[in-house]
């Protein structure tokens, strides 16, 4: 009975859990981004029909990337600003944060080049990065992801790519949750010092693959039971609303400025 009264002296050696925490954080970040997309939002930009928005975004990104005309680049900047104003506050913050991160990253990368005198071209690259990253993110936050993948059919993308894309979007979430649980389990089980953590990671990824394989097969059986033949049919119901018309006119005016 003696040992019961003795004070316990277990002092585990220091152990680094940093990489588990980091993985947890990056998966959580992705999941929260996807999770957020469930709710419907109000706002003018959210109402523009998705195919139009997708095509306009690709068109303007291509124009911005190929243009060296100051007037056009400035009006494209104005267009992005107007788009930003139309967004909800939280979305606006996110788009801005991502755009500024990306462009300041390229600014840092281009410092040596600027030091040797290549200033204007470097600044144009930084500005263009800000514009294009913002445009992609504006599309992403203001449009339901499955609406985007449905619009791809209009761009003559083969069915197999659309099928794979839709499953990918769904499964990033599902598999992300599974890996989150497994990582948390690994973290909780690593009491004190656990030297086997690193080898657990490959087992974790392997398990993720096997699990996803099983889920994929079940998914397809379920789809087949509901009559899916591998082909997507899209009914082209083009209801052009007033917002769509205004949006289209603005984009057309912008591309006209390009020429």
């Amino acid at each position: 009975m003696d040992w019961l009264f003795r004070e316990d002296r277990y002092e585990p050696g220091s152990d680094s859990l940093k990489f588990i925490d980091k993985s947890l954080m990056s998966i959580l970040k992705i999941l929260s981004k996807i999770d957020r997309l469930g709710g419907q939002r109000r706002g003018i930009l959210y109402g523009v029909t998705p195919p139009l928005k997708l095509i306009s975004t690709i068109l303007t990104v291509v124009c911005v990337s190929t243009s060296r005309d100051a007037t056009f680049l400035l009006s494209a900047g104005l267009f992005v600003l107007i788009n930003l104003i139309m967004l909800e506050k939280s979305d606006r913050k996110r788009v801005l944060a991502l755009g500024i991160t990306a462009s300041s990253f390229s600014a840092v990368m281009l410092i040596p080049s600027m030091a040797t005198g290549n200033i204007i071209n470097s600044l144009i690259i930084v500005y263009k990065v800000l514009l294009t990253v913002s445009m992609a993110n504006i599309l992403s936050v203001s449009t339901g992801w499955f609406d985007v993948s449905a619009s791809l059919k209009l761009l003559l993308i083969p069915d197999i790519f659309i099928l794979v894309l839709e499953i990918t979007l769904k499964y990033i979430y599902l598999l992300g949750e599974i890996s989150l649980n497994m990582l948390t389990a690994l973290k909780i089980r690593s009491i004190g010092k656990n030297n086997n953590k690193y080898s657990s990671i490959s087992a974790l990824m392997g398990n993720l693959f096997l699990k996803s394989k099983e889920m994929g097969e079940e998914l397809y059986s379920a789809m087949e039971c509901r009559g899916f033949t591998g082909e997507y049919k899209r009914v082209l119901a083009f209801n052009i609303s007033r917002i769509d018309a205004v949006y289209a006119i603005i984009v057309l005016a912008l591309t006209a400025a390009y020429f």
Partner: protein, 328 residues
């Protein structure tokens, strides 16, 4: 490794995107033929898997962390064509929904990560495996991951590096990525050769080994490529190598110091003072042969040296493991 928007000229993006179209077409035809319908969702799951693998951070010396791409792993598990589609989709999701990597640069990124990487991995794995048994699995998977990531990095570096030479404004300043090959290649290759490639290799071998151990069956339904066409392609390339003589210049990125001067206008200091490697077959000519024959011979000798090196490496690794086992 993703190239962001505006670092490549739009024409480079267009060329690389156009190069991907037949690859995508072949890949989807091949996958439709080789995969049973039931396995089709595996592609999407593979893409989601590759996307998530990039989220797993692995500890690196010096307190930082790195991540793997997973293209080599998917290529070994599902075949290179399936990997090509999966990684393309993963890249498209990142470009369209997460603003990571450019929309216009998608073709270029797909060329590096969804074409060069899975196919390199597949061939390396096949060649290393040979007819060998299970023991070579891990080494083959590691090398497939290591070499394929570095191949992709090299292509990325070259695409970035040729920009300042090809695209300049009126005053001679670079329009897009301003760093030439002499900067972009070492900047990309040193971290990839030393660190990122090893991470990719370890992840590829570790996960592959685990999956084999847990469930050996039904891994690679898309049987992938036969090795023979690769040999044919190699032989054709050797025979065609004298064609290089027809072109007036030297291959991109293989300029001598004097040629650099005529292109760029000055010789980068490091190159001027750099060492000159005396090859035993200088300028790819074999003394005593006509120029064309010499070219073909150099090609054959080069390929044979590489093949022998691979055979020697795999044999050495094989024997070592054999000894270890008998020791027990």
């Amino acid at each position: 490794m993703h190239i962001p928007e505006n670092y490549l000229s739009p024409s480079t993006c267009a060329v690389l995107g156009a190069a991907m179209v037949p690859v995508w077409k072949r890949a989807s035809a091949n996958v439709k033929r080789e995969f049973s319908k039931k396995k089709m969702p595996l592609l999407g799951v593979g893409a989601a898997f590759s996307f998530l693998i990039m989220m797993f951070n692995l500890p690196l010396p010096g307190g930082t962390t790195g991540h793997a791409v997973g293209a080599a792993l998917i290529s070994i598990l599902l075949g290179p064509y399936a990997a090509s589609i999966s990684v393309t989709i993963a890249l498209a999701v990142q470009a369209l929904f997460f603003g990571d990597g450019g929309i216009l640069a998608l073709g270029a990124n797909a060329f590096n990560l969804a074409f060069i990487m899975p196919f390199t991995a597949h061939y390396i794995y096949k060649i290393m495996m040979g007819r060998g048994g299970n023991r070579r699995n891990y080494i083959a998977a590691f090398l497939a991951g290591y070499v394929s990531l570095n191949a992709a990095a090299l292509f990325t570096a070259v695409e970035l590096g040729i920009q300042p030479v090809l695209f300049k404004d009126a005053s001679g300043m670079p329009l897009y990525n301003p760093y030439g090959l002499s900067i972009s290649v070492p900047a990309m290759m040193i971290p990839h050769l030393l660190v990122a490639g090893v991470v990719e290799g370890i992840v590829t071998a570790g996960v592959y080994g685990y999956i084999r151990k847990v469930s050996g069956e039904g891994l690679n339904e898309g049987r992938g490529l036969k090795i023979r066409p690769l040999y044919v392609a190699l032989i054709v390339m050797i025979i065609l190598s004298p064609l290089g003589l027809l072109a007036s210049g030297t291959a991109w990125g293989e300029w001598g110091a004097d040629e650099i001067k005529s292109i760029v206008g000055f010789v980068p200091q490091g190159m001027e003072k750099g060492f000159n490697f005396k090859s035993s077959l200088p300028d790819y000519t074999v003394p005593g042969f006509s120029e064309h024959m010499g070219y073909i011979l150099s090609g054959i000798i080069g390929v044979l040296i590489i093949v022998f090196l691979f055979m020697a490496i795999s044999a050495a690794l094989f024997i070592k493991r054999e000894v270890k086992i008998t020791d027990k």
